[in-house]
Amino acid sequence: MKKSVFTRYFFPVLLVLIGAGCIVYGVTDGEAGAVLRKAISICMECIGIG
């Protein structure tokens, strides 16, 4: 039972923590700003004009 609890919850929780770490790193590295910069102007390629 202990083993199944470990395998059932350990990997997803670990992945969530790694993902959260990546988000924090991305924010401090300025990547979130780059996402915003792209997203607030109309993407001509996306709407089939580009």
Binding site: V5, V16, K38, I42, C46
Partner: protein, 380 residues
Amino acid sequence: MEKLLWLLGIDESMAADPTVRLGAWLTLGVIAVCIAGFIILLAKGRLRVRSFGNKVWQRTKLLIQTMWFALTNSFMIGWIKGTIYQGPIKYMCVPGMNCYSCPGAFGSCPIGALQAILDEFDWKKSYVSQSGTYVQAPLYWVAVYVIGILMVIGALCGRLVCGLLCPFGWVQDLLYKIPVKKIKLPRNEASINRAAHPGFVRFLLGLDRYLRYAKYAFLIVMVIFLPLMVKANPWFCKYVCPSGMLLGGIPLMSMDKGLADAAGTLTVLKCSILTFIVVLSVFLYRPFCRYICPLGAIYSLFNKVSLYRYGIDDTACNRCKGCSACAKVCPMGVDPVKDPNSPECIRCGTCAASCPQKAIRPGFKLKTAEGRAIRVSKRK
């Protein structure tokens, strides 16, 4: 009030416009209605897939999808004036395929953002860091922010996003409700007796089986490799994405004459792809999610390890002696008893709601209330 205007991306000069003010109030109204709707569904226990049977669940599912679409695309100023949201919420990516050039979109599309960041990535780029030192290093460490967001969402719920929170999935679900004769393939597994089916069905089965891998090819080639190596374009968004054309292109071009005048060959190509997907969606359940969607391909990798998973109560399931009711209703052609967390499963809940023994258990638990083990792995 100022903070609210800032959150909606409205500055003082814009706020003086009565149309903008009307749009802002409408936005707040839609958000309030959607949040209230989710609270009511939660309070009534309607989010528990197994509780009310398939008919009620299908209605609930459509309501959840509609409310999520309305919530994440409720920037009414954009819908009224033909502009897009430019406020701070766009720092965040929404979980589903939701073009950030959609007039109502509050969040960024994760696939669009991933391509944009990979497109900017340059090994030789030099820049001045925040501490003021001049360094020569990658501008971003290979899109960790977007990958982090996808990892958190995937690890929490896997392809539940496809089933319930994707705007383009919702559109395909609505199209599939048009009452015409549907293309229904037999369950597509290695063990199937292909010889028992007519030639055309055998051909479709083979096509379906291999085309399901195409979404991984789209992810690797058009979303990762080409933006990273060839640059210059968000390749998937530019040449394939029908969601961008439907949610962004058509509304913006219909409201902005300048954009409509700029339409050309690419517009024709993207409209053709959109039309093909739309027509196919009327006959076949979610063709875009099955064969093309790179976001579904990413989330499918998490299906077997996510916190929210589908499990089978084998004791309850065995009472039916293999009725296969779940496999018969699965619109994606998965057998949940054999593999409850198949990468092809979009966690739409149809199987769990249809099971006569309530043996399919979506959720986070290891055991049933009666203490029986819930199997989340493949049947041995």
